[in-house]
């Protein structure tokens, strides 16, 4: 376990940027800015109009992250949890769960709650609760 610094100001800034992203995508293209849905759409490899805008969005995301890393964000602070098995299991669960549950932190947690969707509220409460419980069990019960 590595202690991370409480950074409310960059948190607010980052959150506001994610919000602006969601607002811009809805205002311009009429779509929900949900990372899992947009990325899963790309994986269908149907090279249609859907694929086209989803690819543009993901490319934009990568440019944004690269720009941040080159200018002000120190990527050396990034610390991963556990070994390759943890990473693979985490990825698998997140992939299966976000397709079944129709969304993730951005789609349900930001966009869904912002349009007062009851489904998104139920999903967000569920994944937050399970994630908190998972961390509690792995860190304080199993002591990993």
């Amino acid at each position: 376990m590595t202690i991370t610094e409480f950074t409310p100001l960059t948190g607010l800034l980052g959150g506001a940027l994610i919000g602006l992203s969601a607002v811009l995508l809805m205002a311009g293209h009429g779509r929900i800015a949900g990372a899992s849905g947009i990325f899963a759409g790309l994986l269908t490899l149907k090279f249609d109009e859907e694929f086209n805008w989803q690819l543009v969005f993901i490319v934009g995301m990568l440019i944004g992250a690269a720009f941040s890393a080159l200018s002000f964000f120190d990527t050396s602070s990034i610390t991963f949890n556990g070994g390759p098995l943890t990473t693979i299991a985490g990825g698998l669960f997140v992939g299966v769960g976000t397709v079944l549950g129709s969304g993730c932190t951005s789609g349900h947690g930001i966009c869904g709650l912002s349009r007062f969707s009851k489904r998104s509220l139920a999903a967000t409460c569920t994944f937050m609760a399970v994630a908190i419980l998972t961390v509690f069990v792995t860190r304080h019960v199993l002591g990993a």
Binding site: M26, G30, I78
Partner: protein, 142 residues
């Protein structure tokens, strides 16, 4: 213009998840660890994101259509069913063991770390597999 708005939206998203620190799995896990070394940063990320988005949506939805497309495409389902809750629970489990959710994981690919690549590959496999099973179930029903 339409494409440019989408690119800019993606750019803001990628910058946002990076600036906020969500691309750092340890920071996310420390947020989820409310009984340990709690890092409350993500509350501020969620809070700012929700304020900006809900206010923005209020203004946008006064229009009948978006600027560069014919209509708003919003989810229509209202059912809170086991699929939704089971999926959300599985996602929470994966998020809780790795500290990664899809947006930050995808954005972090450009930092070139092996863990990011592994995570996104595993996530992609999970997504493709689930979609295939869903498609098969739908075809057999029809």
């Amino acid at each position: 213009m339409g494409r440019l708005a989408i690119l800019l939206s993606g750019l803001l998203f990628g910058t946002g998840v990076t600036v906020s620190g969500m691309v750092n799995p340890m920071k996310v896990l420390n947020f989820l660890d409310i009984f340990g070394q709690w890092d409350a940063t993500l509350i501020f990320v969620m809070g700012a994101g929700l304020i900006v988005t809900s206010l923005g949506y209020q203004i946008i939805f006064r229009r009948s259509a978006p600027l560069f497309a014919t209509s708003f495409r919003l989810p229509t389902s209202q059912d809170i069913d086991t699929k939704l809750l089971g999926g959300a629970a599985l996602f929470g489990l994966g998020w809780g063991i790795s500290g990664f959710c899809p947006g930050p994981a995808i954005a972090s690919l450009v930092f070139g770390r092996m863990e990011s690549i592994t995570f996104v590959l595993a996530m992609s496999a999970g997504m493709i597999l689930t979609k295939q099973i869903q498609n098969r179930a739908q075809t057999s029903k029809a």
